[in-house]
Symmetry: C2
Subunit: 536 residues, 2 copies
């Protein structure tokens, strides 16, 4: 890499010039789509995940430059370096080894010179044997009843990935176990969960790397009080997922079991570690969780080895950079035509926005372009009846459509207007991306559609654990590739520190007032005082 | 109003000049917040909903111009005209009378010269008596069992508002009835619901104004097949919410009861009509639904009568216009520090983006500014662990914070670090808006926070039905006020038509192939053919 910043490179300028060209009427998507072989040229099979970007606003010149950009920034090499243990998380002096969590080969993976594969495999084995013992009834609660409710106590990266996967695979959950998520410190989150569970048959999984996450530990405190009040021994209803040596790994804080998580796997990338592994294996069975890991591993290997034009997540990342930095779209919609994928968008929102919402390069210099976009989405066809009015006639934004060839439930086949529900779903999926791209001039202005709205379409064969693993890893790799283009660190999150520090000051103030009702707020900010007074 | 377009008015130019000024360091929020009485000046009590915009990037000059804009566009008068029956939905030649759905006074409200209040009150009475009969067990399913599961079959405006309210008020649901939402045509949505319900105790509420909404009728077909298969009489397990004279109101399609909805209330504004009324009264009891209506009515009257500087939704709308058209923010975050409000953002996303994602004025001319922004959100503190990294250090976007003074569940009061969970929640709410506004320079660039990120804070006393009604009406009025500024029609949605037409063509193709496996696709578009082939 040269000393030029990104925008100073001749390549970046060529891309900027191409973006001006793409604004011309001849480059409207309805024109681009007339080109022969457009679809074959602009679609790629990433293992068993199909990525179609034929309706993105790119042409051969643009794709040529983007592939040069991938080369210039050494994206695939960086990805391989990441997988084998390079300190890609430079600000925190750490490797980023989420891919090791689903590696089944014996290829060594190093963290500071130490091969981590044995500790990772040991955690997997422990999850397998623990969850099997729970399913067999060998491990039970303190009154001898089997576990039927699982409460996952964790927030952010200890929550959203697991929730996405659990929701996606709910149709396979045959262990007689219900899963609940206690993420928010809001006591109403706790109140609603305890109104749905039976204390005696509930297992609480507390997930926090440091075991000091405020929300998680405050919720654990409520859970302990709840169990004690009901005459249960909390240590017989509790497992922890945490770092070695954290307070959650302390024998003085007993638990049924402790599963380790490691510094080299960040929260938002941790769904395939013990963070997702413990709850998902309890919910779905170890075998299905293992199948998920294998799908993710397959996509990791694809991302690390497929040359640029055939590399799915890499291509998607280049399209992301193009849409963001050159076509100036500030948001990215994710619309899965699969209600089982209803929690994909919140997970990717976290993954992408926390990873790539950065302002400085790895060298600590300001990035000279805008980085991450805002990600949002709801399932289709629901989204069509919600925000698609704006998508068609308002401010344009790119969309990832996701289609699944076979539904999870296939026993309901009543037809309406000659098609099944699943076929109706696909008719809409096919129609929307086309309508957004092509547009149409109406007799009246209010019925005109400018078109030229870009989208990609991802196709999965079905909602198998393998495919959910592939989809998860696809978005992880894509996120990381974009960060590599900008030379930012997708693995830190210093942006959340200021709010934490301020919250800590405010908490201390409240705690003093709780102790002494006459305490006068130690702060001259009238706004803060006003809000503090709302609590008393 | 003059013949000048919006951007040609001298006022608009003054606002644009002010926006340039606001970019200067002297106008950074940390500076603006030093002004005396900033908080008193830039906050308003809209009935019992408090709206604080002191951390928006405005000063006296800007607010002065914005209030002039409200005057110039006659916003409050238009709102009153809307409430009394003016044809504000000009493209569809209709009034927009969602406010009449919660009007309790005898003030006449006209639709084409006819006072609608009697038909509206008749629907309310019918909902009240029907739901009370269900709760008493006087109305039961075909095997004589009382109803315990309610499935709401509806999509978009027939779904999201009801889901938001039901989720918000879940803590009050004491009728022994569970509520399920069958919105998506995806058969997996149906499959999951039937795996959770007992057919004999289930009541299906089919909601569609035309009773031709594809998703809804396709799902109704599945439901009929499901009931028949289980030996139940569908007509004894079905109610409809639909227009007079629609197929759902036809005596040849019998149902337990039919509740009318009217052309003058659009889907996304219909949560306080029978659309929300029937399921919510079954779930919460009529009395609580009525309390919700009364809260909404109170906010309607506030919006229609409070003069500009004291008008909450109007002020919020002006801030919205300012952030969008002048400060050029393209998105709006909604972060409620209340897990019960987890479905507020999807509802407002629909309400706002479908209403204001428009490109032409009421006269059919292109709007010369960008209209609606993209709305998204997750509850706090969850969002802090998800997308707030980007909010603090990446691309800035305005946020509506929402705080609730008292939680719904108050029996759990274990403290951690000297504060309750609810206090911890508020410590974070207070901290985040402050951190976003003030920023902080760090020792290292990766730990620097530029600040100057605008936000508003809405405070509710509690999650009572009245307050949920107020919040709902607040956002409805704000949405409509913004549309009035742009002179667009917030009540039509022609933007969804093109996709529907294309989906219909594709459905027909699929239906022909279902009948004749040798059928050759009648379309030369290789992309469409590829996707059609995925289904066979």
């Amino acid at each position: 890499m040269t000393d030029l910043t990104l925008t100073q490179t001749p390549l970046w300028r060529k891309l900027a010039a191409s973006a001006e060209k793409m604004a011309l009427p001849d480059y409207h998507l309805s024109q681009l789509l007339k080109k022969k072989n457009r679809f074959e040229q602009y679609s790629v099979s990433a293992g068993r995940l199909f990525y179609d970007y034929s309706r993105q606003r790119v042409d051969e010149q643009v794709m040529g430059y983007l592939l040069e950009l991938a080369e210039l920034r050494g994206l695939i090499k960086k990805f391989r370096d990441m997988m084998s243990g390079a300190h890609v998380n430079e600000t925190e002096k750490r490797a980023a080894l989420h891919t090791a969590a689903r590696q089944f080969s014996d290829t060594p993976v190093y963290d500071n010179g130490r091969n981590v594969m044995s500790e990772i495999k040991a955690v997997r084995e422990k999850i397998k044997s623990f969850t099997e013992a729970v399913h067999k009834g060998d491990i039970r609660g303190s009154t001898g009843m089997p576990f039927r409710d699982i409460v996952v106590v964790g927030i952010g990266g200890s929550y959203l990935g697991t929730e996405f996967i659990a929701t996606a695979l709910e149709g396979l959950a045959d262990k007689g176990v219900a899963l609940h998520f206690l993420s928010n410190v809001d006591i109403d989150n706790f109140g609603r969960i305890v109104s749905r569970i039976v204390a005696e048959t509930t297992l609480w999984i507390v997930i926090s790397k440091s075991y000091t996450t405020m929300e998680t530990i405050a919720n654990l405190n409520q859970a302990r009080a709840f169990m004690t009040e009901r005459g249960l021994k909390p240590e017989d209803h509790l497992v922890t997922v945490t770092s070695k040596g954290s307070p959650g790994d302390d024998p003085n804080n007993p638990a049924l079991a402790t599963f380790h998580m490691f510094d080299y796997i960040g929260g938002r990338f941790s769904a395939t570690s013990a963070v997702g592994g413990v709850p998902l294996s309890l919910y779905l069975g170890w075998d299905r969780f293992e199948r998920l890991l294998k799908g993710a591993e397959e996509m990791d290997l694809h991302a690390a080895s497929a040359p640029a034009p055939q590399n799915g997540p890499l291509t998607a990342a280049l399209i992301g950079i193009w849409n963001n930095n050159f076509l100036r779209y500030e948001t990215q919609g994710i619309v899965a035509y699969a209600s089982a994928l209803s929690r994909l968008a919140p997970h990717i929102q976290q993954l992408y926005m926390e990873s790539n919402g950065k302002a400085v390069t790895l060298k600590g210099l300001p990035v000279d372009v805008k980085t991450g976009v805002i990600v949002f989405g709801e399932p289709g066809t629901n989204a069509q009846h919600s925000f698609f009015q704006l998508a068609h006639q308002g401010r344009p934004f790119p969309i990832d459509f996701i289609g699944v060839r076979r539904p999870q439930y296939d026993e309901y086949t009543a037809t309406f207007k000659g098609v099944t529900n699943h076929q109706e779903l696909w008719a809409n999926l096919i129609a929307q991306s086309q309508a957004l791209a092509m547009g149409s001039s109406g007799e009246r202005p209010a019925r005109s559609f400018p078109g030229n709205r870009p989208s990609a379409t991802i196709v999965l064969d079905d909602l198998s654990p393998e495919n959910i693993g592939r989809l998860l890893s696809f978005y992880e790799a894509r996120t990381v590739f974009e960060a590599f283009v900008w030379d930012i660190n997708p693995f830190d999150q210093f942006g959340v520190e200021l709010g934490k520090t301020m919250a800590s000051d405010i908490r201390n103030e409240i705690a003093r007032k709780n102790e002494d009702p006459d305490y006068i707020w130690d702060n001259r900010d009238p706004i803060r005082r006003f809000y503090l007074n709302q609590l008393f």
